[in-house]
C-alpha cells in the first residue's frame, strides 16, 4: 500500500481555481476606482466613528496650510458648477477646458488662473507649490461662489441638497477651519461631514 501512494501523482487540476481567481480579479478591477492625485494631500485626524462618507452629490473642501482646495466628487456636477462660476466671474471656458475640468478631481486656484491650469497636462497640475488655494477672505470670497454654484447645480441635476465635507489637516489651526465653517454657515449650511481617518476601538 505504502508503495502505491508514494507513486501517485501530486498534480492538481488548477483550471477551476484559476477561473475563480480571475473572475474575482476582474470584479475587483472593475469595481475599484482609481485614486486620483490630489493638489494638496492632507493628513486627516483619526476618529473612532465608523461612518462612511457619501459618494454622490458631494463636494469636499480641503483645508491645509491656510489654503483651501475644492473637490467636486460628483462628476455630474462638475461642468454645471463651472458654467455657473464662469457666468459669475465673466470668464469664458473653451470646450477643451470644460472637458479637462470634467476629468479633474480637485483644484485650488483663483478663477482667473483656472483656464491656464486647465490648459496644462494632467500630470503637471499637481506639482508642489503650483496651486496656491482658492481665495476665501472677505475681499475676494471665491470659495463661497464655488459652494453656492455647486449647490445650485446639485439642485438642478439631482434635485437634492448638496452634501459638503470638510477635509482638514490635523495640524491646521482652528481659525482657518472656523473661517471655512463660517462661510458655509452664512449660506445656512449647518450640517456637514468631517473627513477623518480610522482609529482603533480601544482609543
Amino acid at each position: 500500500m505504502a508503495k502505491k501512494t508514494s507513486k501517485r501523482s501530486t498534480k492538481i487540476d488548477m483550471t477551476a481555481m484559476c477561473d475563480v481567481a480571475f473572475l474575482l480579479l476582474s470584479f475587483f478591477v472593475m469595481t475599484s476606482t482609481a485614486k486620483l492625485p490630489e493638489p494638496y494631500p492632507v493628513d486627516t485626524p483619526a476618529s473612532t466613528v465608523q461612518q462612511k462618507l457619501p459618494e454622490s452629490n458631494l463636494v469636499t473642501v480641503t483645508v491645509g496650510d491656510k489654503m483651501v482646495f475644492f473637490t467636486i466628487a460628483d462628476r455630474e456636477l462638475r461642468v454645471a458648477t463651472l458654467d455657473k462660476v464662469a457666468e459669475t466671474y465673466n470668464i469664458q471656458f473653451t470646450a477643451e477646458q470644460k472637458k479637462a475640468f470634467d476629468l479633474m478631481d480637485g483644484f485650488g486656484v483663483k478663477v482667473s488662473e483656472l483656464p491656464a491650469l486647465l490648459n496644462m497636462k494632467g500630470s503637471d497640475r499637481n506639482k508642489d507649490g503650483l496651486q496656491k488655494g482658492i481665495p476665501f477672505d472677505e475681499t475676494d470670497n471665491q470659495l463661497k461662489e464655488w459652494v453656492l454654484s455647486a449647490r445650485f447645480a446639485a439642485r438642478e441635476i439631482h434635485n437634492n441638497e448638496l452634501k459638503i465635507a470638510i477635509k482638514g489637516d490635523a495640524e491646521e489651526q482652528y481659525p482657518t477651519i472656523k473661517k471655512v465653517i463660517d462661510i458655509l454657515q452664512e449660506q445656512k449650511i449647518n450640517k456637514f461631514y468631517l473627513v477623518t481617518g480610522l482609529r482603533g476601538e480601544d482609543f
Partner: protein, 185 residues
C-alpha cells in the same frame, strides 16, 4: 514542470510524431499565485480607500433676533470645554464667572477628559431623576491656538461617551483669560 511539449519525439517514427492529445496539461500554479496576489491587492485597496467621516451639525446662526433661539441651560447641566494649545484643555461646570466645579486642566484621551465626561454623564441625569431630556450639555469652545485635530478629538470623545447634546460655540474673552491663566492660550 511545464508539460506542454510532450510527445516531441524528434521525428523518430513518422506516424506517431503528432502530439499525444491536443491540450495536455499546463501548470497553472504560477498563474493562480499571481491572480490571488492581485485579488488581495485590489480587495485591500478598495476597502481602505473609502474615507471615514463624522457628522457635524452646527447651531443655526440666524440673525433673526425676533426668535428667541437661546435655550435655557441650567448651570449644573452644562460643562464647558475650552481647547487650548499643546493638546491640552480646560473644563468647568456652570458659568465662567462662578464655576460650580473646576476649572481643571486635563489632556485628551482615555485618562484625560473622558474620565470626567463619563463621570458627569452619570451624575447629571441622576440629579434630575434620570429624566432623559435633562442630560449633560457640553459646550465646546476652541481657542485660536488649538488645531483641527483637537476639535476632531473632542468630537470623537462626544461620540465615545455618547453625550447627546453638544455644541461648538465661539470663545469669549473671559474664557480666553481663563486659558491664559492656565498657560495654554
Amino acid at each position: 514542470m511545464a508539460e506542454l511539449n510532450t510527445g516531441d519525439g524528434g521525428g523518430k517514427k513518422g506516424g506517431k510524431v503528432r502530439s499525444k492529445k491536443s491540450g495536455g496539461s499546463v501548470d497553472l500554479t504560477a498563474m493562480v499565485d499571481l491572480a490571488f496576489l492581485l485579488i488581495t491587492f485590489f480587495m485591500l485597496t478598495t476597502t481602505l480607500a473609502k474615507p471615514q467621516s463624522m457628522n457635524l451639525a452646527m447651531p443655526d446662526k440666524s440673525d433673526d433676533k425676533t426668535k428667541d433661539t437661546e435655550t435655557e441651560v441650567a448651570d449644573d447641566r452644562s460643562m464647558t470645554v475650552l481647547l487650548g494649545k499643546d493638546n491640552q484643555l480646560v473644563w468647568y461646570m456652570g458659568q465662567v464667572g462662578a464655576p460650580l466645579e473646576g476649572p481643571t486642566k486635563v489632556n485628551y484621551g482615555k485618562e484625560g477628559i473622558r474620565v470626567e465626561l463619563l463621570k458627569k454623564i452619570k451624575t447629571v441625569p441622576a440629579r434630575y431623576g434620570n429624566d432623559p431630556k435633562k442630560g449633560l450639555i457640553v459646550i465646546i469652545k476652541a481657542s485660536e491656538n488649538s488645531n483641527y485635530k483637537n476639535l476632531v478629538d473632542i468630537l470623537d470623545e462626544m461620540a465615545i461617551t455618547k453625550v447627546a447634546t453638544y455644541a461648538i460655540v465661539d470663545i469669549s474673552d473671559e474664557d480666553k483669560a481663563l486659558l491664559d491663566k492656565e498657560g495654554i492660550l
